[in-house]
Every structure is written in structure tokens, then in C-alpha cells.
């Protein structure tokens, strides 16, 4: 019974947060809704016996990533209300139609044996989830793990070069130092 209540709560937070992300005029509000969604999903992970993932989710995602988002929003100074006008013709109705169609299709398929071949039934992971997870990551999937390491390095290097070199002459290492303080929202361009 507790599980049902918890599930409903988490589901409500998840979907509400998601809708909030796409509806919020102010990107900051969107970011906060995103945090809510991420935490709710972490809860789901816990209910699905994936405690480590929940932890990682919360640590990596909910905090680091969203903070990064907020940081960039503040940096770019676009933390204010936006108009939700839609210049592309037919974009909005089409988008909604596609999303709805997608949901329906997944629902239909989910109810069908076609996708997994196995009927829905209960089952618990044998043993502690973390040990099994760790064992797998460092044995069978070691190679992908190493590739991921490389990926992260690339991401870091990419992030740095992209953010720094675009338009900035070498040497000016930070934003707008030595010039008149940029008026709010103004990004010192070349």
C-alpha cells in the first residue's frame, strides 16, 4: 500500500515537473522543475531496487548538471520571461500530435507481447544490487567503461575550447574584464 502511494506521488511529481519544464516561461523555473523530475526518477530507481543508480542520479544529475544549467542561464543573462510565440508554421500542432501519437503507440505496444516476449511478472534482483552492478561494470563491460572515460575527457576539452575560443582573441581570458561593466544581459561580443 505504501508502495502505491509512493508511486503515485513520484509519478505526479515526474509528469508535473516535466510539463513544468516545457511550459515555464522563465528558464530558471524550467531548471527547477527539472530538478523535481530528476529526484522523482531517483525515487523510482530506489523502488526498482537500484539504490546506487538513484544515488548517482541525485549526485550527478539532480545537482551537478542542473547547477551547470543554472550557471549558464545566469551567465548568458537570459533568466527572464520569454515570449512563447512560435515562428515556425505548423510546428506547435504537429509537435503535439507527434507526442500524443508516440504515447499511444508505446502504450499499445507495452500491452503487447511483441516487444519483450515476456509477460509482466514480479521478480527481485538476486543479491545486493550494488555488488552485482559493480562486478558487471568492471568485468564484462570494462571496455565500454574505459571508452566512457575517454568520452568524458573529450567532453571536457571540447567544453573548454568551445567556450573560450569562440570570438575571443587569445589572451583575454575571462569575460569582459578591463572593459566597462556590461549592462545586465549584455554579452561582450567581438
Amino acid at each position: 500500500m505504501v508502495e502505491l502511494v509512493l508511486f503515485v506521488l513520484a509519478a505526479a511529481v515526474t509528469l508535473g515537473g516535466a510539463l513544468g519544464v516545457i511550459i515555464a516561461r522563465n528558464p530558471v523555473h524550467a531548471a527547477l522543475h527539472l530538478v523535481a523530475v530528476l529526484v522523482a526518477v531517483a525515487v523510482f530507481f530506489v523502488m526498482q531496487q537500484a539504490p546506487l543508480l538513484a544515488a548517482v542520479q541525485v549526485i550527478v544529475y539532480a545537482s551537478a548538471v542542473v547547477v551547470l544549467f543554472l550557471f549558464v542561464i545566469m551567465l548568458l543573462g537570459i533568466d527572464r520571461r520569454e515570449s512563447l510565440t512560435e515562428p515556425l508554421r505548423h510546428q506547435r500542432p504537429l509537435a503535439i500530435a507527434v507526442a500524443v501519437a508516440l504515447t499511444i503507440e508505446v502504450a499499445v505496444l507495452a500491452g503487447h507481447t511483441w516487444t519483450t516476449g515476456a509477460r509482466t511478472q514480479q521478480g527481485t534482483l538476486s543479491g545486493g544490487a550494488v555488488e552485482v552492478l559493480a562486478e558487471n561494470v568492471f568485468t564484462r563491460y570494462l571496455w565500454p567503461f574505459e571508452v566512457l572515460a575517454v568520452l568524458l575527457v573529450v567532453a571536457v576539452v571540447g567544453g573548454v575550447t568551445l567556450a573560450r575560443h569562440s570570438g575571443e582573441p587569445a589572451g583575454a581570458d575571462d569575460l569582459g574584464e578591463g572593459r566597462a561593466a556590461p549592462e545586465p544581459g549584455e554579452v561582450p561580443g567581438p
Binding site: L88, Q91, L94, A95, V98, A99, A101, E105, V108, L109
Partner: protein, 667 residues
């Protein structure tokens, strides 16, 4: 060396002039002025000697044996078609060979003098010899294909020789006109050969002689008519005759040899050689006879009022050729051959005479500017007069016997219409040739240039030909005309003598018909046309002689004193509008030229523009434009907007899932 050994050398007859031609093509320029001429004349004289030897050898054999085949190597052979190079020496072919080499040698001799000072002397004689070789190949071939080689070879040489003075635009055009008109005939020859091969399986004369009898009537008639189309082209019969008058642009020896004595008679040879196709089926024979008769009359009328000395002779040749086909058409092949031989003699003499006259009066060809030349060119005049009287048919000269036999055979073969037309043509012949002879050699001297008038500058690109209707130019000569050297006068005299005695070949009395008897083995299976009685034959002769005499008298009365008024031609005046119609040769040439130059040319140009540029290219262009438009339409998809692409991706996913559902649903 018995008869057969001599006859085995027959293949040398065409090879000698061919070798001469090859030699002159390579070294003609180096040999230079007279040497090249003598080499060519010598080569042809050698061929003449060999022909005579073959004649003697053939005479040595009895009647049916008089045929000899020299088999060369195979030429074209693939699938069921086999053809080789072989020379058939029989009375018919050796008669022509003698004619070509004999008259040819005399004309070559004449040309040595006539072509004096010509820039391309060597090349002229090379082509002249090549012509003789091609003509000999044509007459000595043992199958139709090899004959066709000779047939087109003479056409080529005629094209080259007409266009010898290529700097003259008229000569170049006349050359093309001659070759193309002959090509129309050659297409007929090709179709005939296809028909023969399709029916008999081979183009050899031997196979034709055996197989032609069993052929169904309409195939034989088709072959005959196709062959006759070829003859009409080559022998300038009506409808395809328009090239011969223009061929006079070539040097006079060319006109004499090719366009009077030999090449134009190739058509008659072909009809005689292919007589199995003609004689058994009335239709073909009638066509040939009728076309021949009409040609004789119409060409005769056209010659009446011409003012160019060579033009008159050109139309006269067309007319006389008409007679030959008239004879062949009614089945009197021997009479046709006799007419060919005799005509070659006196027509060559007339042309050579005309050549001498042209040279003597400062290269003018206008009859109205000559007159009274007999006092200055006595020998040439003698040869010319003899030939004139022979051609008109004054007994006892050769022309009388030949023409009389043709008309007689036509009447007794039951073709009165053709006989009537032929008789009318006799009148025109008498009229136009007497007019020419009187205007040139008799009457008042109209060639002297008055003292004050300066000599016109000699422009090599202007051709001396004078069309009907052009006013006479200034008199050309200031000195006296003088007789050229023996090289030019001897041939005219010899041919003149030939014209006089030529009749002996075939006098119409039982044992004296030498030529008919001689040709009999070649025309085996042709039923003889005999006069019902001696009196009937004599009556025909009397009628034809009186007609000729009337014409002669009329011309004598009109032109006895030459032309008192240079630009007034008494006959032309009397004929009035009819004279103009005759002068323009019934406006046939102008009509064809107008058609080819006008509507045909415009149609071809429209065809080129409409189909190629307009049709196909525009269609291809349309396709290309279509592709470009489609491309432009696709470009809109690449809008550059990120969210459009995202929409596309998701729409794709939805579609795939939908398909999965369908398959799963159905599956």
C-alpha cells in the same frame, strides 16, 4: 599462241589503261606536258591492239564457241553471296571494248594537242586513262557486281573530268550534278542486283542466261525496270538527262569520249547484256522503247535553237541515245549495237571538230560568232561535214543504214507509235545539225573583232558556255583562225572516214549483215524481226530519207548565208514562244533546280531545326528542367531549423512504431 591463249590475255585490256592511270597519278606532274599524254595514249592504244587480237581470236572460233571466260580471284564472299573478278570476252563485250579503245585512243591523241598548256596536264590524262579502264571493266565484266564497279567508276571519272577546271564554279556544280543524277540510276542498279541475287542466287551472267527464263514475269519486269532506271541515269534519258548538257563544262575531249561515244552508251550495253530480262516480257520492252523515242524527239527539239556549239551536240547525243533504246526496247538489239558503233564514230568526230573550232576562234563556243570557217579549217571541215551528213542520215553514209534499220525494226516489230515519234525525231535531227554545220563552216564570217574593240581580259573562272537567251558577246578573234597540228586534225579525219564507211558493218541485205550475224551468239534466244518483204523495207528507207532531205532543205534555206544579223536567229524567230520552250529544254532543268533549291531545301532546313534542335534537344532540355525543379522543391526540406529536423526524427519514429504495430497486429 592459239585462239584461247590470246583470249586468256583479255584481262590485260582493262589493266593496261589502269596501269597508265596509276603511273600518271604518281608521276604525272614530273612527266609534264606531252609525255604524260603520249603515255596515256600509248596505254590505250595497247589495249586497242589487244582488243583487235582478241577479235581475231574470236573470229577464229565457230559461232557457238565464241565466248571466253578469264576467272580472276574471289572479291566479296560471305554467307550465300559469292562474287569474283572475271572477264567475259564475247562478241558483245569485244565490240564495246574495240569501240572504247579505238575511239578512245583517237580522242586521247586529240587531247594531247587540245590540252596544251593546261596546268593539270598530267592529272587530266591520269583520269582519262582511269575512265577508259573503268569503262573496259564495265563492258568486260562477267557479273553484274563487277559491272557495277565499272559503272560507278566511269561516273566518278566523269565527275572528276567535268570538274577538271575546278576553279570554274559552273564546272564544279556540273560535276556534282552529273554524279548525283548518275547515283539515282545507280540506286536502281543496286536494287536490280538485289532482286537478281534474291531470285537467282548469283550475279553471274552465266547463271542469268540459264535462270532468267524460269523467273516469274513480275520479278523479271521489276529487274528490267530497275536496270533501265540505271540506264536512264547513265545514258541521260528523259527525266534524268539534265546532267548531260551541263557536262559540257568539261574539256571537249572529255565531252567527246565520255559524253558522246562511250560512257553514255553503257546503258545500251547493260540492256543488251541483260536482254533475257527484257525480251520475254512486253511491258519492260515497251517502256524502254517509248522512253527512248520520247527522248529522241524532245532532245531533238531542244537542240534546234541552242547557241552553244557543244550544247547542240549534247542534246543531239541524248536524242541519238533515244534511238538506241528505241531499238533495244523493240527487241532489235543488234540494230541498237550497230547504231551505237556508228554513232560513236561520227559523234566523236563532231565533238573533236567542235573542239578545234573552239580553239581556232579564241575559245568562244557561241555559234553566232563563227561562220565561214571552212576556208581556214579545211581538214576539220571535211571531217565535220562527213559526220554531219552521216548523222542526218544521208545515204550511203553509215548514219542512214543505222537509223533506217532501227526505224524499220521498230515498224516491223509492230510498234507504229514509236516508229512515228522516231520519224519526227529524224526531222529535228536534220534541222539542228544542218543549222550548226552551216553556222560554223558556211555563211558569213562573224568572228572577226573590229579594229577598235579591245580583247576582253581572259578570266579563268568564267566558263565559256553560252546559255540559250544570252545575247552574243563581242567577236573574239582579231587574226585568222588556223588549222591546228596533225595531232588534232588526224583523229577528226579518221573518224570522219569511219562515219562514211561505217555502214559496211551491217548493210541490210541477207549476207551483208555482218554485225548482226557477229552478235548472234550473244543474243541467243531473241526472235529475229524480219521485214515482211524487201519492198516494205525499201519503202521505210525512202520515207526516212525524204524526211531527212526536207529537214536539210529547210535548214539550208534558213542558214545558207549564215546570220546576216548576229543576234537574230531565223529559226528561233519563226518558232516564237515554242523556240524559247525548246531553248530552255522544256524548262525541265529549271523546274528541278527550282524544286531542289527551293522547297526541298527549305523542308530539309525545317527538318533539321524542327526535329533535332526543336524536337529531341528540347525534349531532353525539358527533362533536365524537370529534374532541376524537383530538386528545388526538395530544398525546402532542408530549412536549417533544428526543431524542424527534430520534428522529422520524431515523426519518423512514430511512423516506424505505427508500422511495427501493423505488422505485430497482423502478425
Amino acid at each position: 599462241m592459239n585462239a584461247r591463249d590470246v583470249l586468256d590475255l583479255a584481262w590485260l585490256i582493262p589493266v593496261l589503261p589502269l596501269a597508265g592511270a596509276a603511273l600518271l597519278f604518281c608521276f604525272g606532274r614530273r612527266l609534264g606536258e606531252p609525255a604524260a599524254g603520249w603515255v596515256a595514249t600509248g596505254a590505250l592504244a595497247g589495249a586497242f591492239a589487244l582488243s583487235v587480237a582478241c577479235l581475231v581470236a574470236l573470229v577464229g572460233l565457230e559461232g557457238p564457241e565464241r565466248s571466253h571466260l578469264v576467272r580472276g580471284h574471289d572479291w566479296i564472299g560471305i554467307g550465300g553471296f559469292r562474287s569474283g573478278v572475271g572477264f567475259l570476252v564475247d562478241p558483245l563485250s569485244i565490240t564495246w571494248a574495240l569501240l572504247v579503245t579505238g575511239v578512245g585512243s583517237l580522242i586521247h591523241l586529240y587531247a594531247v594537242g587540245y590540252m596544251h598548256g593546261d596546268a593539270r596536264y598530267g592529272r587530266f590524262f591520269a583520269t582519262f586513262n582511269l575512265f577508259a579502264a573503268a569503262m573496259l571493266v564495265l563492258v568486260l565484266a562477267d557479273n553484274f557486281l563487277l559491272a557495277f564497279v565499272g559503272w560507278e567508276g566511269v561516273g566518278l571519272c566523269s565527275y572528276l573530268l567535268i570538274g577538271h577546271w575546278s576553279e570554274r564554279p559552273r564546272a564544279a556544280t556540273a560535276g556534282v550534278k552529273a554524279f548525283v543524277t548518275n547515283r539515282v540510276g545507280d540506286a536502281g542498279f543496286l536494287v536490280a542486283m538485289f532482286l537478281i541475287f534474291g531470285a537467282l542466287g548469283s550475279l553471274d551472267y552465266a547463271v542469268m542466261r540459264e535462270g532468267a527464263a524460269q523467273l516469274p514475269a513480275e520479278t523479271a519486269t521489276a529487274v528490267a525496270l530497275a536496270l533501265f532506271l540505271a540506264c536512264m541515269g547513265k545514258s541521260a534519258q528523259i527525266l534524268l538527262h539534265l546532267w548531260l548538257p551541263d557536262a559540257m563544262e568539261g574539256p571537249t575531249p572529255v565531252s567527246a569520249l565520255i559524253h558522246a561515244a562511250t560512257m553514255v552508251t553503257a546503258g545500251v550495253y547493260l540492256v543488251c547484256r541483260a536482254h533475257p530480262f527484257f525480251d520475254r516480257h512486253a511491258a519492260a520492252g515497251d517502256v524502254v522503247a517509248l522512253v527512248g523515242a520520247l527522248t529522241a524527239l524532245l532532245a531533238g527539239t531542244a537542240a534546234l535553237v541552242q547557241v552553244d556549239v557543244k550544247r547542240v551536240l549534247a542534246y543531239s547525243t541524248i536524242s541519238q541515245l533515244g534511238y538506241m533504246f528505241l531499238a533495244a526496247g523493240v527487241g532489235a538489239y543488234a540494230a541498237a549495237v550497230f547504231f551505237v558503233v556508228v554513232h560513236a564514230l561520227y559523234k566523236a568526230a563532231l565533238f573533236l571538230g567542235a573542239g578545234t573550232v573552239i580553239h581556232a576562234t579564241g575559245d568562244t563556243q557561241d555559234l553566232r560568232l563563227m561562220g565561214g570557217l571552212r576556208r581556214y579549217l579545211p581538214l576539220t571541215a571535211a571531217g565535220f561535214v562527213a559526220s554531219w551528213l552521216a548523222l542526218v542520215g544521208v545515204p550511203p553514209l553509215s548514219g542512214f543504214w543505222a537509223k533506217d534499220e532501227v526505224l524499220a525494226k521498230a515498224l516491223f516489230a509492230g510498234e507504229p507509235l514509236v516508229f512515228g515519234i522516231g520519224l519526227a525525231a529524224v526531222f529535228t535531227t536534220g534541222l539542228y545539225l544542218t543549222r550548226e554545220a552551216l553556222l560554223v563552216f558556211f555563211g558569213n564570217e562573224r568572228f572577226r573583232r573590229p579594229a577598235g574593240v579591245p580583247a576582253p581580259a581572259h578570266d579563268p573562272t568564267v566558263s565559256p558556255t553560252v546559255d540559250y537567251g544570252t545575247p552574243p558577246g563581242p567577236p573574239p578573234l582579231d587574226g585568222d583562225p588556223h588549222e591546228p597540228g596533225p595531232v588534232m586534225t588526224l583523229p577528226v579525219l579518221v573518224l570522219g572516214v569511219g562515219a562514211v564507211v561505217g555502214g559496211l558493218l551491217n548493210l541490210p541485205f541477207r549476207r551483208l549483215e555482218v554485225l548482226t550475224h557477229w552478235l548472234e551468239p550473244a543474243f541467243e534466244g531473241v526472235e529475229e524481226i524480219t521485214a515482211p518483204s524487201f519492198a516494205a523495207a525499201a519503202a521505210v528507207s525512202v520515207v526516212s530519207v525524204t524526211v531527212a532531205a526536207l529537214a536539210l532543205a529547210l535548214a539550208w534555206r534558213l542558214y545558207r548565208r549564215g546570220l546576216p544579223e548576229v543576234s537574230v536567229d531565223p529559226l528561233d524567230v519563226r518558232l516564237g514562244p515554242l523556240g524559247r520552250c525548246f531553248g530552255h529544254a522544256w524548262y525541265y532543268d529549271e523546274a528541278v533546280t527550282a524544286f531542289v533549291g527551293g522547297p526541298a531545301r527549305r523542308a530539309a532546313e525545317r527538318l533539321d531545326r524542327a526535329v533535332d534542335a526543336g524536337g529531341i534537344d528540347r525534349a531532353v532540355g525539358a527533362v533536365a528542367a524537370g529534374v532541376v525543379r524537383a530538386g528545388a522543391a526538395m530544398r525546402a526540406l532542408q530549412s536549417g531549423f533544428l526543431r524542424r529536423y527534430a520534428l522529422g526524427v520524431l515523426a519518423g519514429t512514430v511512423a516506424l512504431l505505427g508500422y511495427a504495430i501493423l505488422r505485430a497486429g497482423a502478425g
